[in-house]
């Protein structure tokens, strides 16, 4: 956290080198996350760029004592993605439908199964399993209490499991 505070202070002072380092370290990860929310890489990269730009222009919204800078970045990204959908879709129902209908670019089985989850569940599982965000960071990113993070993660995993195995799990037994 001390490193994050130092980095943030440098960014606040307009240290382009510090921010470029932060960008290069996190852009690919943010692109991957946003792709799950937005459905294709081109849009994800657009929104990611806007996200970084927002952080660069207005870094003061970050509070080091509340979480990591990366969690803050992902929080902005999530809100930007929601805004992007709102501009395209007039209401929340359509947002949800649009998400589910949106095909991702790869055709792997896992990708296909994952894309059948709701957007909130996808975001939560991605941040937890791929990005390794803690419960506290997830709460910060998603604007929900830590207890809700826990229960939603369980719900998301169960839903993914249901889709994945179709109610019939398979198992390897070692000898």
């Amino acid at each position: 956290m001390a490193d994050d505070r130092d980095l943030w202070e440098r960014i606040c002072r307009g240290d382009t080198r510090a921010f470029d380092g932060f960008y290069q370290e996190n852009a690919s990860r943010l692109n991957g996350f946003l792709r799950q929310l937005l459905g294709n890489m081109q849009t994800a990269e657009d929104v990611a760029q806007e996200t970084f730009l927002q952080l660069w222009r207005r870094p003061n919204g970050f509070h080091p004592e509340k979480g990591s800078l990366r969690a803050y970045l992902f929080g902005i990204g999530r809100k930007r993605a929601a805004e992007w959908w709102r501009q395209r879709k007039p209401n929340a129902d359509e947002l949800e439908t649009g998400q589910r209908d949106c095909k991702t670019e790869t055709s792997s089985l896992v990708d296909d199964v994952f894309s059948r989850l709701g957007v909130d569940e996808r975001a939560l599982l991605w941040l937890r399993e791929v990005e390794g965000q803690s419960y506290a960071e997830l709460a910060e990113i998603l604007d929900i209490p830590v207890g809700t993070v826990k229960s939603r993660l369980f719900t998301a995993r169960e839903e993914l499991r249901r889709i994945w195995y179709g109610g019939r799990p398979e198992k390897k037994v070692g000898l």
Partner: protein, 373 residues
Amino acid sequence: MNCEKAAEFVSALCDGERIPREAAEHLGTCGECVVRLNDYVLMGVELKRMAVATAPQSVREVSWGPQERPRSSRGQIWRGSMRIPRFAFGAMLISIVMLVAGIALTRAQTRQLWFQFEVRERRGSVAEVGLMSAEPKGQVPDPGPVIINSEPEGTLTFIVRVLESRNGSEKLGVRALWVTRDSELTDLDKKTQSSLETEYWIVPGQKLNVPVKGYGQIEITGRLLDKLPDDRNPKEMRLYPKEGEFRLISPQVLLVDGRVVSKGGGNGYNDTKGTFFAYYAPHDGFYIFAFSEFTGATEGSIEGNQIEFTLDGRIYNLIACAPIVEPGITRIWVRHHAGSRLVEDQPVSPDQDSYSSMMFGDLKVMLEHMTKE
């Protein structure tokens, strides 16, 4: 505590959270919950794998100019915003940066580093080839244990993960257990996951020997990569398995006289010499396969991803998702073994007959310890 109440704690356990004693006690005895935990872990691994496979190799070129931000946002009493087309904005940004600062756009390279490592067992064989982020951030998830049954004396299990990077060295977290054949062989996954994790620093390119109590040592080597290797997961990504190995990729389907009787199975690979794999069909028993003749076995044929054999006048086909052996190997031996336990001391979960499964191991050891039908 019942499964319904314990389920949410399984999810928490998967995240490395502490769970109530009552829930832990339930998980220790409940096969259904263990399956759920394994499923969660497997899904997490697959998501990470997908993330790695779909990760872009580079990021967009962007230059962050000081002109792009307000002089000071502290104490600002008025804030407005203006929407202009993104293209126009981008062009303006580039122009300002080039004119005022005289700096050309620099190419932004992704600096994501990967640590590819190999774990070798005491006889020198490669037990695992792993790939993890070389600079992990936050809590590093448990990738799940690797279980090696290639030695007749016992089973080696281990978990290796990258915890931290500093000054060009990688900090590894290693859990390793050696369980002899006369020991309790149940719940090896959980036993490994709950064993003490020891931390080691490794310099990429050098060898690290990790002692394993009662076993000797495993050797870990690794290297840093600035891009994902093409052969990231050769055993699964290649069309055919390596020479001298067989490979099963789930799901498998078992047909009798053209009718599907079982599907599911599991994943695994091993040397073709001196080993077996067994497909468990619920309520029917094990179909034991080996690439050499063994007691009580019938010869069948194998081609690509299909095995065909005849038992009691009925034609059986076992079909896997991908080729099982390299081209040129056409003979295989099979034996049916009724019952839910193939060898003595084999753990049997309460819901074993809910799904098919796969076993792998040393043929000679298995035959010596095979249960009576």
